[in-house]
C-alpha cells in the first residue's frame, strides 16, 4: 500500500541528488507543483526524463537542478521555445546540460520496455534520420524469423517517477482519466514513485477512460489540489493558457527568471 505523505515529505524521501527522475504528463496532468518542490528543496545533478519537457522542466533547468535531459520534444506548447532550456543547451547557463534525444515513439517504447522488465523494445523508427547518430540508446535488431532489420531502443528505468492524477483513495490506489499519456508506464518502469492528486477520497468511483494504479505499485501519494496548474486536470480545472503565454517573457531573460526563482523558493 502506498504511503500518504505531504508533497514536501514525498520529495524529500523519494527524490535525491543525482537521481534519474521522470516527471511525466502529456499536456494533461503535468506534475508542476512537485517539480517546483524539487526546485525548492534544491536538488542537484538530476537526470530529468520526459517525452515533452515544457514549462516545469524549463524551470528545473533554469534553477540548475539538471545535469542531463532525456527527452523527445521540448517546447512551450501553443507558445514557442523553452528559453531556459535553450540557454542551457546553447550557452551552458546556469550550468552545462547533457542531452539525450529521441522520438516520441522511441521514448514511449523505452518506458514500455522498462515497465515490462525487458532491456529493450523493438519499433520501426529513427530510420534515415540523424537522431540515432547522437544517442547510444538506439540500435538495430534483426528479426529471427524474417531477417528484417528493425530499430531497438534501450529500456528506461528511472530511479523515481513523479506524476499527477485526479484522485487516490486512502490505500493509495490512484485513478486518472482523460489523456493519460505514458504515466502508467513511467510509474511501473521506475524504482520509486510519487503521485500527487487533486483529492484523496474514500472510494474511487469508476470513471469512463480511467486508468487505475493499485496502491501496491505506488510508493507515495500526496494530496496537492491544483498540483497540475498551469496544465489541466480533467474534471477539476482547465488549462491556464495565459500562464503559458506569460511564461515566455519570464523565461526569455535570466534576470526576470531569477526574480521568479526567488519568489518560488521563498514561497
Amino acid at each position: 500500500m502506498a504511503e500518504l505523505v505531504s508533497l514536501a515529505e514525498g520529495v524529500a524521501e523519494l527524490v535525491h541528488d543525482g537521481d534519474a527522475v521522470a516527471l511525466e504528463g502529456f499536456t494533461h496532468l503535468i506534475p508542476v507543483a512537485a517539480g517546483q518542490e524539487i526546485i525548492r528543496q534544491g536538488r542537484r545533478d538530476l537526470t530529468l526524463i520526459r517525452m515533452t519537457p515544457d514549462i516545469v522542466y524549463d524551470q528545473l533547468i533554469g534553477a540548475g537542478c539538471a545535469a542531463r535531459l532525456v527527452f523527445s520534444w521540448g517546447g512551450n506548447p501553443g507558445v514557442g521555445s523553452l528559453h531556459r532550456f535553450r540557454d542551457a543547451v546553447e550557452n551552458a547557463w546556469p550550468r552545462p546540460i547533457e542531452i539525450e534525444e529521441h522520438s516520441h515513439a522511441g521514448m514511449a517504447n523505452r518506458y514500455v520496455a522498462g515497465a515490462s522488465g525487458l532491456p529493450f523494445a523493438v519499433l520501426r523508427g529513427y530510420v534515415g534520420t540523424d537522431i540515432a547518430k547522437h544517442t547510444k540508446t538506439v540500435a538495430t535488431v534483426t528479426c529471427p524469423f524474417t531477417g528484417e532489420a528493425l530499430t531497438a531502443v534501450a529500456a528506461l528505468n528511472p530511479d523515481v517517477a513523479v506524476i499527477h492524477a485526479q484522485r487516490a483513495d486512502r490505500r493509495g490506489n490512484v485513478q486518472m482519466w482523460g489523456i493519460t499519456g505514458v504515466q502508467k508506464e513511467a510509474v511501473l518502469a521506475a524504482s520509486r514513485s510519487l503521485v500527487t492528486v487533486e483529492e484523496i477520497v474514500d472510494e474511487l468511483e469508476p470513471q469512463p477512460g480511467a486508468v487505475v494504479l493499485p496502491g501496491w505499485v505506488v510508493t507515495a501519494v500526496a494530496e496537492v489540489p491544483r498540483g497540475a496548474h498551469p496544465s489541466y486536470a480533467q474534471g477539476y480545472y482547465d488549462r491556464d493558457n495565459d500562464y503559458y503565454q506569460s511564461w515566455d517573457p519570464i523565461s526569455r531573460d535570466r534576470e526576470t527568471f531569477g526574480r521568479w526563482l526567488e519568489e518560488v523558493t521563498a514561497a
Binding site: S81, E90, G128, G181, K184, Y244, Q245
Partner: protein, 256 residues
C-alpha cells in the same frame, strides 16, 4: 471576401484532406488545417493526435496536441505507447500532416537544431512524433510558411525523412509510407518530381508572382510546365476558418 496568405495556405492544406479517412495530426499549422477540413471538405475525417486521441472532434482549435477537448470529443483515447505502436506504426493512417522549421528540396525535415548539434546556433524543440509519422503514414503532407531559411537546399540535421537522397531511398530503408507527396506553403503548392523526388512548384496561390516564390525558396526552384493557380478560398472556407481561430483565440494563446 479577401484573405491572408496564411488563410490561403490553411485552406489549401485542408482541401488536400478531401476523401481521406484518417489523419495523424502533427503539432503546429497542420492542426488548424486538419480541423478546418472536418468543417469543410472532409466532415468524417478521423483526426488522430499523438496524445492518444483518436477521432477527436474539437469545437475550438486545440492549442496543444493534448488539449482536454481532444480527449473529451474523441471516439477513443489510448495511451501514448498504443497510439504509436498500434495506430501509427502499422501504416493504417492515410495521411500524416506535419509542420517543420526547415524542409529541404527532397522533403526531408529538420525540427532539431540549426548549426552544430553539440553547440547549436538555435536549439529547436526536437523530433516529437514526426520521424515515425513521416515514416509510417501512407502519405505525408507538410505545411510551412515559405521563406528561404525554411525551404533550404540541404539540412544540417534530418529529424524526419522525406525522400532522403532521392528516388528509391525510402524503399531501400524499408519504409512503408510513400513520403511527402505535397508541401503546402503560403505562396503555393510543391510536389515531388517523379523522376528526381525534388519538390517542384505545381500550383501558385492567386496574386503571387512566380519570381517571389523562387526568391523565397532556398534551392533553384523548378516550376512545372502545367503550373496551376490555386483556387481562391470560398466564403464558406474562410468563414469556417475564422470562426475556428476566433473561438480559439478567445481561449488565449495560438497554435504552436
Amino acid at each position: 471576401m479577401t484573405w491572408t496568405a496564411d488563410e490561403m495556405m490553411t485552406v489549401t492544406a485542408a482541401r488536400s484532406l478531401a476523401g481521406r479517412t484518417s489523419c495523424f495530426v502533427g503539432i503546429g499549422l497542420p492542426s488548424t488545417a486538419a480541423n478546418l477540413a472536418r468543417r469543410t471538405c472532409s466532415p468524417e475525417l478521423a483526426l488522430i493526435y499523438e496524445s492518444g486521441a483518436i477521432g477527436a472532434k474539437p469545437t475550438t482549435l486545440p492549442l496543444s496536441i493534448g488539449d482536454g477537448e481532444l480527449g473529451e470529443t474523441a471516439d477513443a483515447v489510448v495511451s501514448v505507447p498504443e497510439i504509436f505502436n498500434y495506430w501509427l506504426q502499422p501504416g493504417r493512417v492515410d495521411v500524416g500532416f506535419l509542420g517543420a522549421a526547415q524542409v529541404d528540396r527532397r522533403g526531408n525535415i529538420n525540427t532539431t537544431v540549426i548549426g552544430d548539434y553539440r553547440s547549436p546556433a538555435v536549439r529547436l524543440p526536437g523530433a516529437g512524433g514526426a520521424p515515425e509519422i513521416a515514416a509510417s503514414c501512407r502519405e505525408t503532407i507538410v505545411v510551412v510558411r515559405h521563406k528561404p531559411r525554411t525551404l533550404v537546399d540541404r539540412l544540417e540535421f534530418i529529424t524526419s525523412l522525406g525522400f532522403g537522397d532521392g528516388p528509391g531511398h525510402r524503399a531501400a530503408l524499408g519504409l512503408r509510407g510513400r513520403g511527402p507527396i505535397r508541401l503546402i506553403t503560403d505562396l503555393g503548392v510543391l510536389e515531388p518530381d517523379p523522376a528526381t523526388c525534388e519538390l517542384t512548384l505545381v500550383s501558385i496561390h492567386p496574386g503571387v508572382a512566380v519570381d517571389a516564390v523562387r526568391a523565397a525558396t532556398g534551392w533553384p526552384l523548378t516550376v512545372r510546365a502545367d503550373l496551376r493557380t490555386t483556387e481562391e478560398p470560398t466564403a464558406a472556407e474562410l468563414t469556417a476558418l475564422r470562426s475556428l481561430t476566433t473561438r480559439s483565440s478567445t481561449r488565449g494563446g495560438g497554435v504552436a
